[in-house]
């Protein structure tokens, strides 16, 4: 009998010629909690999707409980005892806890009808198994229970297929401290029942709290495989980062000139997700916000742009107090946002490049009542040339542009709104290296002309090498300000 739940070796996978997994070795012992960490793009999610049958590997071998397997569909993975809890929960808010647990496959029937009694019994035993049957009511609507409880219901749902291996993807991102403690005790219970758990996270400290061993991926390769007790936070971070801080050109950092003429002053900003945040942006400055997923970094930008309701605090732009209740207020105050999700929030996919670029500037390209096609075309063409958007012409529909080019259009939109302050939410996420450089170059130029930039990135090397000042965020609060150069390793430690 083999004591490994999963043994994967030399796994390779590429998409359109881009190598994502380059000979990964990954093994999980039976009955252990195994941490999987790596920077964005290191290949974690691709590897998990191969385990889970969503993707097929190009080459390599995978053994599950000692037997060589190859999954073509998630169903096959499930039949072999593998279940996955995804990062964004997949529960239906209007249905009850029981109904959600058996959403996909309800095995309990009375003839054609669902046997509610049996389903409830089984749901109850699943909740008992993870020890939360007294806090989560079976008939409660999922939308009425807390996010932490939803996470547990999601786990119960995964357990319904009686898996031997459970994959958890960033399960703590939206949980509070006590909810995390409960989650950890649930994970330990499952481990004690012999279930092997793969635990993916950006919160490296959690690895030492909950994991027995850990694997670090970098650029599609396994760079560290160790018992958690034999390694340290520093080891993990340097393994994740490697020697090369790949990619972004560094930028001549200036000493901060704290003149009285700040471009943007935020004091005590509070929303549902951000608490008492204060920050300051001076002309010509790029201010970084370093924080993990769920730290409130996105919510801070959304609050400044009028997307989330501001409960308290004051915002000043160029010394004048402004009230921002909607994105259009923010735009009037000279603020532009390149949102996190370019396809859902940044672009109108069926509009042309030109129509997207000029959208925030319709007033300026109108002559009388009518839009001035000439002005519109000129503005679009100059932005396309300026940002190096690769397209046949300005009439091309943005839906069919590459991610990098779509992101350039989003940035072009921000610039066309004539803003003085640019809020960038992870603008290089999922963007190729070349486009990354071009976007950063434009952002630098914007700051060089006296604009102010607030820059959120999940790539800490970008923040480290690119920003003049860095604010550190954790759990909705700003917990530190860094005014001197700081390596990405240090930043990585600060946000933990």
């Amino acid at each position: 009998m083999n004591d490994f739940a999963i043994e994967a070796s030399e796994i390779r996978k590429g998409f359109d010629g881009v190598v994502v997994l380059d000979g990964v070795d990954f093994s999980v012992k039976q009955g252990e909690v195994h941490g999987l960490v790596g920077a964005n793009g290191a290949g974690k999610s691709t590897l998990m999707k191969i385990l889970n049958g969503l993707y097929q590997m190009d080459s390599g071998t995978m053994k599950v409980f000692g037997i060589q397997k190859h999954f073509n569909t998630p169903d096959q993975a499930r039949e072999n005892g593998i279940a996955m809890v995804y990062q964004d929960l997949s529960l239906v808010g209007t249905l009850s806890v029981t109904e959600n647990i058996f959403l996909a496959r309800n095995p309990y029937r009375k003839g054609l009808l669902i046997d509610d009694g049996k389903a409830r019994q089984k749901a109850k035993s699943l909740l008992e198994m993870i020890g939360v049957d007294d806090t989560i009511h079976l008939d409660a609507k999922v939308s009425d229970i807390s996010v932490g409880q939803q996470q547990l219901v999601e786990i119960a749902k995964a357990l319904a297929s009686d898996p031997k291996i459970l994959i958890l993807d960033e399960p703590t991102a939206s949980l509070s401290g006590t909810e995390i403690d409960i989650l950890f005790s649930v994970i330990r219970k499952l481990r004690d029942r012999g279930i092997s758990i793969i635990y993916i996270t950006h919160y490296l400290r959690d690895i030492f709290k909950i994991c027995d061993s850990v694997t670090v991926l970098r650029d599609g390769k396994t760079v560290l495989k160790e018992k958690a007790g034999n390694t340290s936070l520093g080891d993990l971070i340097s393994a994740m980062m490697g020697e090369t801080s790949s990619g972004v050109s560094t930028w001549d950092r200036k000493a901060r000139v704290e003149s009285e003429n700040a471009l943007l002053v935020v004091e005590g900003l509070t929303t549902d997700a951000v608490h008492d945040a204060s920050l300051c942006v001076y002309p010509g400055e790029i201010v970084g916000i370093a924080g993990l997923l769920g730290s409130g970094r996105t919510e801070l930008l959304k609050a400044l742009f009028g997307c989330d309701r501001i409960r308290a605090g004051r915002i000043e732009v160029e010394g004048k107090k402004v009230f921002i209740r909607s994105p259009s207020d923010a735009q009037d105050a000279g603020i532009a946002l390149a949102p996190e999700d370019r396809r859902r929030q940044g672009l109108i996919l069926d509009f042309s490049i030109e129509q997207n670029i000029v959208l925030p500037a319709l007033k300026r390209i109108s002559r009388g009542l009518l839009l001035d096609e000439g002005k519109s075309g000129k503005m679009a063409d100059s932005m396309i040339a300026h940002l190096g958007v690769k397209a046949k012409n300005r009439q091309q529909t943005v839906r069919y542009l590459s991610g990098g080019n779509q992101q350039k259009v989003v940035v072009a939109k921000c610039l066309s709104s004539d803003a003085k302050i640019l809020l960038l939410d992870d603008p290089t996420f999922g963007v190729d290296l070349h486009s990354k450089h071009e976007i950063m170059k434009i952002v630098k130029e914007f700051a060089g002309r006296g604009g102010g930039v607030v820059f959120v990135s999940s790539e800490f090397n970008e923040i480290s090498s690119f920003c003049d000042v860095v604010y550190v965020m954790k759990k909705g609060r700003i917990t530190g300000v860094v005014k001197e150069f700081m390596s990405e390793e240090r930043l990585m430690q600060m946000v933990q």
Binding site: F305, C307, S326, P327, S328, A330, Q331, D332, L337, P339, R344, Q345, G346, L347, I348, L349, D350, F351, Q355, L359, P360, L362, K363, S366, L369, L370, L371, K392, Q396, T397, R399, Y400, K413, S417
Partner: protein, 317 residues
């Protein structure tokens, strides 16, 4: 990965013209000896299609924002009755027309407030106002027809001809051109399409999407009110049944015309051609000698067929 969407898009946009020409040719052949191609009949089609066309212009704006309005049929009746009653009471054409339009404005504003600011789906809001408005129309008219005998009113709003051309034709052209320019060439039109294309992106671009939604509900109601006034002039009186059967016809005309039910894409000219298709269909089925029930059945079949042709796009994306 697909690089461009030009080919299929162009084809999609031209479906309405192909359908139009196809049906026209078909009827020209099979109904030739029943007088389909006579100038009298063609002008008749222009008259019959006019109100559908005008309402379809408003509906184009509504669908472009990914909303819908079911209440405009009832607005036609309310506006017609209000206008006719005001005419009887004051004898002033101006006041009569303003009264009719005001009734449309009011209904549109109520729809708009609930859709844009209360946040109720437009389908439900306008289903509700349909009941209220047609109830009011029956109540104030006491289920009676209200005749109009002012010659100028009748001439201007529906029955007049300038030379051989019916005045309704000019109304249609005027509204179609204004609507098309507003949708294609103004900031407002661009915002309408952006709101329907992706509401969140539009909002994040600084567009006040709630105001846009409010505006299109008002525009649609106002154009329905105008259609009500034109019906009154054409029929020399108002009745609570006006507009009752036009709701589905107008929505079908707009969709056949290439406007997406899911918002973000639309063509006013396409809608007007769509309305002409509906007019020709109506006329042709009558010339064929079909009974009213048979006409209903045939029209339903042809609408589903034409709409399926234009809506295939959404699949496979």
């Amino acid at each position: 990965m697909k690089i461009t969407g030009f080919g299929p898009k162009k084809l999609k946009d031209s479906v309405v013209y192909i359908v139009f020409i196809g049906i026209f040719l078909l009827f020209s052949v099979i109904l030739f000896d029943r007088g389909f191609l006579t100038s009298g009949n063609l002008l008749n089609i222009a008259r019959q299609s006019a109100m559908i066309a005008i309402m379809s212009v408003g509906m184009t704006f509504v669908l472009c924002t990914a909303e819908i309005d079911l209440s405009f049929g009832a607005v036609v009746a309310l506006s017609a009755i209000t206008s006719a009653l005001a005419m009887r009471a004051t004898g002033s054409i101006l006041l009569s027309v303003l009264a009719g339009l005001a009734s449309g404005l009011l209904v549109g504003a109520i729809n708009g407030i609930f859709v844009a600011w209360v946040g109720i789906p437009s389908f439900l809001v306008t289903l509700g106002t349909t009941g209220i408005v047609s109830g009011v129309a029956r109540w104030v008219s006491r289920l009676q027809s209200i005749p109009i005998d002012n010659d100028l009113y009748i001439f201007l709003f529906g029955s007049g001809d300038i030379g051989p051309i019916p005045i309704l034709f000019f109304w249609t052209i005027f509204i179609a051109i204004v609507g098309s320019v507003v949708l294609k060439k103004t900031a407002f039109g661009r915002k309408v399409l952006a709101t329907g294309g992706n509401k969140i992106s539009a909002l994040y671009s600084g567009i006040k999407t709630d105001r846009i939604k409010f505006s299109v509900m008002v525009i649609n109601s106002l154009l329905a009110a105008l259609a009500g006034i034109l019906y009154t002039g054409r029929l020399h009186g108002a009745r609570y049944t006006l507009g009752e059967n036009e709701v589905m016809v107008v929505i079908a005309a707009v969709i056949i015309g290439g406007t997406s039910m899911f918002g973000g894409r639309g063509s006013v000219i396409g809608s007007v051609i769509g309305a002409l298709i509906m007019g020709i269909l109506n006329n042709g089925l009558i010339l064929m000698g079909l009974s009213v029930d048979q006409q209903l059945i045939f029209r339903g079949i042809i609408i589903i067929a034409a709409v399926s042709l234009t809506m295939r796009e959404k699949k496979g994306k």
